[in-house]
């Protein structure tokens, strides 16, 4: 237990833990001390000098050590001759802080005046106008007439792209270094720095590409002025015209809480559209941060390529049809298929939809399966994160193990949180065949050769760890290998800890919980009902199997490779067009809410399933997800007792953000719509239903293994213009020595064929961290790679030309 300290701030007595900074103590008491450079998530630097306060401390008699008293018996307080910065001074017993005196007010006015001497007065055209700390504090502390001669203002470049995503207005920058410090302390990508010194101090980046970091958007939230803006929002709207809707990011299994800002937009013909994605505070999940994929990928929602009406294949062509016609056809065909019906659902579908899809399939005598290359969700359900073992609480004496995952690429915020736990003193053990960014903070690194995962996991020694969080990913693994790895990690963490799957999708864990399993036998299916998945896009070799089936119906946002082969295509709503729940990889069940109205005739997946059911004689709830959720709670193990209302509960979080004082925590939204509920681990035996044979590496001369990149070529990210330049082009990573053997060079275009699939043009990237004998092939980039595979590659003609 840390000691408690009692002090007085502005006449109010408060008690806070020892070590608390005065500025934070004040905040807890509801007193706002203005700050620019201080941010509660970063080390104090005391550079802007805005937070000046008068600090008095009790006087002690040197001889006796007793407190000296005033005549009235109160302790004598000695105030310093200088004001002090509240952001750097820790509280001490009996301290008296005065933030209201004339001296303090004058001091703050002085600082604001100094800042305004070089700040442009372009609030009316500034993106930050309306949510700008400097603007707010100028109202409070600024004087109405300027003593500074306008012509003497520093002028600097106003529209400087730091990269594809973030723009800098040099004139507006007040040199608080929040962005620089964020990139160094939190993102561990020190790609921003100051250039020059004194009044000429400027922000620069020398990275290639500019501002190369998956975290760049967060700097625009914490920038206390309009110096940093995002490429997609700048000049897009004024903050006060925006509405807000709570949501969840659906791009990985972390489950970051978002607030989407929306507005009726002329460019979209008066429709309400999403203007930007902002982090919404959830200290258990994403704190105040989101990665750039989560911030910039939403553009697919409003893409003109979206499917908007049902399509039925007529004379070999997919042609528009009515819902009635399409549903009737689908119901009839699925019913006919009976046991031959195979429903394939993707892990980005919400729980309610997966629940309905499964019910419908089983009701018709068929089966529903998860389309995924990763196993182990049943083990995670048994021994996942809990109230006692989680990423917020592990620290000294505990351990985090990361196996077969490049955590920052696959689940960025978990990387961040694992790193923080390591900083708090947790051991961080990284088990991976090649270096990843996670290793910078590792206390132990275990390398292995692809295929020897299980043996490597067995080498991890957790004897002296109290609590353990074990992440297992899918680097270099297919379904079988992944099952073995999950099993081995479960064994490793048994009794001490929590297992977390670094799933490829937002609700993969939910799908496991709903009872869907991967690894279905596709070849025996008579009819396919495919929702939220694109098996053919992932593996073109599957086209044949899909086409062989009697009937294929696909529910999608876009006309994917799979949809293009279907007999019926049904337009599905985007997650932002409806409500529902996701279960994150940490097994936190969270709610998202409708953000924009539905596009065209799109319907939610759960609703479509219910409508098919109605026609095929399976009774399902189809009007609202809120009607399905109680069924889930009644039937799914571990979900009992949950309700939409419970998921919407909040309690006070620290740091306090948003409210009137945007200067403190930035523009991250306060969470008023629900922190979600952490499921308790089911705690039954630690064996998986999936086969746990260790992965065997093929004895080919070269083996292609799959890896995961955050910026892949997935359909959803692909629709974001701002992210487009950052998306990786199809590539294959090989060791330079292997490359030489293959007579290829770094950057050369080659044609690649995996498992005898049709050749695809890719670029060779040499990387000496790749083990020899292996070629690393990114998933979701049009290269068919499901598991370690034999491969051949030859020099493409384009390379010769």
């Amino acid at each position: 237990m840390t000691k408690e300290i009692t002090l007085t701030i502005d006449g109010q007595q408060i008690t806070v833990p020892d070590g608390t900074l005065v500025v934070d103590a004040a905040k807890r008491a509801g007193i706002d001390i203005p700050v620019f450079c201080y941010h509660p998530k970063m080390e104090p630097v005391g550079m802007c000098r805005m937070c000046l306060v008068d600090v008095g401390r009790p006087v002690f008699d040197r001889a006796t050590g007793e407190a000296v008293l005033e005549e009235d018996g109160s302790p004598k307080i000695q105030f310093g001759w200088k004001l002090e910065t509240a952001c750097t001074v820790p509280v001490s017993e009996g301290m008296v802080v005065d933030g209201l005196s004339d001296k303090v007010q004058q001091g703050r006015e002085d600082i604001v005046e100094f800042l305004l001497t070089s700040h442009p007065l372009d609030c009316p055209i500034c993106d930050k106008g309306g949510e700008c700390p400097l603007q707010n504090l100028t109202m409070e502390y600024g004087s109405s007439d300027s003593r500074f001669i306008f012509d003497e203002k520093m002028h600097a470049a106003k529209n400087v792209p730091l990269g594809d995503l973030i723009w800098l207005d040099r004139e507006r920058c007040i040199q608080c270094a929040r962005c620089i410090r964020f990139q160094e302390e939190i993102a561990d990508d020190p790609v921003l720095e100051f250039f020059n010194r004194g009044r000429a101090t400027d922000i620069i980046t020398n990275s290639e590409p500019g501002f190369a970091s998956y975290w760049s958007g967060n700097t625009t939230d914490i920038c206390p002025v309009g110096a940093l803006t995002t490429a997609d929002f700048r000049f897009g709207a004024r903050p006060w015209e925006l509405n807000q809707a709570a949501s969840l990011c659906n791009h990985c299994a972390v489950g970051c809480n978002l607030t989407y800002n929306t507005r009726r937009d002329a460019k979209s013909g008066g429709d309400i559209i999403i203007k930007r994605a902002m982090p919404r505070q959830n200290e258990q999940v994403n704190e105040l941060w989101i990665c750039d994929k989560g911030r910039f990928a939403y553009h697919y929602v409003n893409s003109s390529d979206r499917l908007t009406q049902p399509l039925i294949r007529k004379d070999g062509q997919l042609s528009p049809a009515s819902w009635e016609e399409a549903l009737t056809l689908v119901a009839e065909q699925l019913k006919n298929a009976g046991a031959g019906l195979l429903t394939l659902a993707g892990g980005r579908l919400p729980n309610e939809d997966l629940f309905n899809l499964k019910k419908l399939s089983e009701g018709l005598g068929g089966t529903a399966a998860l389309h995924s290359y990763m196993a182990g969700g049943d083990l995670v359900a048994q021994m996942g994160i809990s109230d006692t073992v989680n990423l917020s609480t592990v620290g000294a004496g505990d351990a985090i193990v990361v196996v077969a995952s490049d955590l920052e690429e696959e689940a960025p915020v978990w990387w961040l949180r694992a790193k923080q736990a390591a900083k708090r003193g947790a051991k961080l053990i990284v088990v991976n065949p090649r270096p990843t960014k996670t290793e910078r903070h590792a206390t132990e690194i275990i390398r292995y050769v692809y295929g020897e995962e299980v043996a490597a996991i067995e080498k991890v020694d957790l004897d002296d760890a109290k609590k353990v969080v074990a992440f297992f990913g899918s680097e270099g693994l297919g379904l079988e290998g992944s099952a073995a790895v999950a099993q081995a990690c479960a064994k490793l963490a048994a009794g001490k800890g929590a297992l977390v799957g670094v799933w490829p999708q937002a609700n993969t864990q939910g799908a496991w919980d709903m009872g869907l399993r991967p690894g279905a036998d596709l070849s025996s299916a008579k009819a396919f009902y495919i929702a939220g998945a694109d098996p053919v896009g992932d593996n073109p070799a599957l086209a044949e199997i899909v086409q062989r089936a009697d009937f294929v119906v696909v529910q999608e946002l876009f006309l994917t490779e799979t949809a293009a082969l279907a007999d019926v295509v049904l337009p599905a709503q985007a997650q932002q067009e409806r409500e529902g729940t996701f279960t994150s990889g940490e097994r936190r069940v969270q709610r998202f809410y409708p953000v924009v109205s539905s596009k065209g005739e799109c319907k939610a997946d759960f609703a479509i399933a219910a409508k098919i059911g109605a026609k095929a004689g399976v009774d399902l709830k189809g009007r609202f997800p809120s009607l399905i959720f109680p069924q889930i709670c009644a039937e799914v193990a571990g979900y009992a007792g949950l309700s939409y209302a419970k998921l919407a509960e909040v309690n006070e979080q620290w740091p306090i953000v948003s409210r009137g004082d945007l200067f403190y925590g930035g523009t991250s939204y306060e969470n008023k719509q629900g922190l979600g509920v952490q499921l308790a681990p089911l705690g039954v035996e630690h064996t998986s239903t999936a086969a746990a044979t260790p992965a065997t590496v093929l004895q080919a001369a070269f083996v292609a293994v799959p890896i995961t990149r955050l910026y892949d070529q997935g359909k959803l990210v692909g629709a974001s213009d701002v992210l487009q330049p950052r998306l990786a082009q199809p590539f294959v990573l090989v060791n330079p020595e292997d490359s030489q053997k293959l007579k290829s060079t770094d950057g050369m275009a080659v044609s690649l064929s995996v498992n005898g699939s049709p050749a695809i043009d890719v670029v060779v990237r040499e990387d000496d961290s790749v083990p020899q004998g292996f070629a690393l092939v990114p998933r979701s980039m049009g290269i068919p790679i499901e598991q370690p595979s034999e491969f051949t590659f030859g020099i493409a003609e384009s390379a010769v030309a």
Binding site: P190, L192, E193, F194, F195, N196, R197, T205, N206, E208
Partner: protein
């Protein structure tokens, strides 16, 4: 091995040896001097090479060029004459000296002679206040002080460089 490493392998090792192995970053200051020795400024290429050697980001190298006045990111004259005209030297005629020297070379402070040999820059106190007028010379050979100077003695010095170059 990058270009800088190839060129100055021994020297780099010597510089690195001054600091604990896990504190390579300290060497960045000397490496920047080394990189600008030849061309008189640090190029983007040098920045990347240095970053690789001391294992920091290029941005963290670049920031130093802007912060410290003895690093340059743009080419100038082969030889920079940096005249101290700070208060103590100015009390002893440094401003006058600077003005007259510039007149003699027909350039303004901050400019380079047409032959590209000499750039004249005013600088802050160089810790030689008792020997004003004075300047330091920054060139590929490092830095050198010249004290108790006159315009004539400076011109003689410049002539001697012309012969060498």
């Amino acid at each position: 091995m990058n270009k800088l490493e190839e060129k100055y392998a021994d020297e780099i090792q010597k510089i690195l040896a001054k600091y604990p192995p896990e504190e390579k970053r300290s060497a960045v200051m000397m490496l920047l001097y080394m990189a600008q020795r030849e061309g008189g400024y640090v190029s983007n290429h040098d920045i990347n090479d240095i970053a690789e050697i001391v294992e920091i980001t290029p941005t963290e190298v670049a920031t130093l060029i802007g912060f410290y006045t003895l690093y340059h990111d743009k080419p100038a004259g082969k030889i920079r004459i940096q005249v101290c005209n700070d208060l103590p030297c100015a009390l002893r005629g440094a401003d006058k000296f600077l003005g007259e020297l510039c007149d003699a070379l027909k350039i303004q402070p901050g400019e380079t002679t047409p032959d590209g040999l000499v750039t004249i820059e005013p600088v802050m106190c160089l810790a030689a206040c008792d020997k004003a007028p004075m300047f330091q010379v920054q060139s590929s050979e490092g830095l050198e002080y010249h004290e108790n100077m006159t315009v004539e003695s400076t011109q003689t010095l410049i002539e001697s460089w012309k012969e060498k170059n």
